[in-house]
Amino acid sequence: MSILAAGPVIPNFGSGSKCEQTGGWWCTDWLRAHWGDTLQPALVQHIELSLIAVGIGFAIALALALLGFRFAVLDAPFGAFADFLYTIPSLALFQLLVPITGLTVTTVEVALVGYTLLILYRNTVAGLRSVPAEALEAARGMGLTRTQTFLRVELPLAVPAIVAGLRLAAVSTISIATVAALVIPEGLGRPIFVALEQDLFKTEILAAGGLAIALALVADALLVVAQRALTPWSRA
């Protein structure tokens, strides 16, 4: 049985050092030899997959949130649709898209974007709704138009909630992107699946898994920094 998507065959470990042959926990010689041809490309692909997904997801969610915020009737169906998508297991959604978009990056991105929608949509709408009435009152008093109020008052005040949504979306996308390796030979899931198939090569599982966790933590931290920079007034 093979759980792997088609792709380049990773060199086998039979010829490796003693550590590799015995499936050691942390074979530095293997890591050094395969950082360049296995781990680093997987990491870069993972970052690309995640960035594209969160970027497109954010654009769609922002557009939907503006509609849902302006026309409250739409909020319930948009929310329900996002809920529905989020419930479907990632592994299943990837496979359900394969007959439509094939074993391609598109399949993976469509699914990843779908999963970001729930978090991003809900947080953006909640952020826009949480703008205090006094702020809107003041904006009206100053003679701002509807569009000006939105751009200069509502949107900036919603930034913390929007960034909170982006943090969740980024971390969950990085998590789900590991599963993408079942459809396309890309991302940090790939070395993990290879290692699972090759008698659980511990070093590879730990290294690739550790990179995925580190990537999630770094993405989260970067978004915190971005939020501080975007909302200088909220700095205590």
Partner: protein, 218 residues
């Protein structure tokens, strides 16, 4: 061509009800065991910490660490434990994944209860235990139940991935296209999606029923 793939998938479901039911049962067994253990561990802790207004750091820490842990990575890591490959390694992974939302929501559900109400109950001479179970829990129940619902849906969905580490369940077909063909893979994907959607609807109804009774039954 697309339509025929899905028709074939439905045919696969029609032709293999026994296999699919068996795997659905295994899927639920794994999910419910993990969820049960997570509930036993995280629910009392979250409620107690919330009642004592302690452990904010723990509640926040557990939830953010939990989020940063990719499910697949955790499932892969658990294959390296002495639990080996099969039921328990996956149970442990899914338990770890279920704990954050149960713990965090239980904590914030109880912490968020109006302090005046709690003080009034204390003034009436209720014991700490009575305060927790007759005042705070009924009032915080919507949030506590939301945490359980989120964890349950997440575990049932993620149990699909457990198939890569010998967990059984409906994912077994999805990761084994060589044996079951594309129609089998799509059929199983449809089944597991239906399973999670049904579970999500049932849990949402349960949560609504639980939050419909806001007044403490002291």
């Amino acid at each position: 061509m697309i339509a025929s793939t899905f028709v074939d998938a439905l045919r696969f479901i029609g032709d293999n009800p026994g296999l699919l039911l068996h795997l659905t049962a295994a899927h639920l067994e794994l999910s419910l065991t993990a969820l049960g253990i997570a509930l036993v561990l995280a629910l009392p802790l979250g409620l107690w910490l919330g009642h004592r207004h302690r452990g904010l750091f723990l509640a926040l820490g557990v939830s953010s660490v939990g989020r940063a842990l990719p499910s697949l990575v955790l499932i892969a890591f658990m294959t390296l434990t002495p639990l080996g490959i099969g039921f328990w390694n996956n149970t442990l992974a899914l338990t770890v994944l279920a704990i954050p939302s149960i713990l965090t929501n239980a904590y914030f559900g109880i912490v968020g209860v109006d302090r005046d109400v709690v003080e009034a109950a204390r003034g009436m001479g209720l014991s700490e235990r009575q305060i927790l179970f007759r005042v705070e829990l009924p009032l915080g129940l919507p949030l506590v139940m939301a945490g359980i619902r989120i964890a349950a849906i997440f575990v049932i969905a993620t149990a699909t991935i457990a198939a890569i580490a010998g967990g059984g369940g409906l994912g077994e077909i999805i990761v084994d296209q060589a044996s079951y063909g594309l129609s089998g893979v799509i059929g199983a994907a449809l089944c597991v999606s239906a399973l999670t959607l049904v579970a999500a609807v049932l849990l949402t109804l349960l949560q609504r029923a639980a939050s419909r009774r806001p007044e403490p039954n002291a």
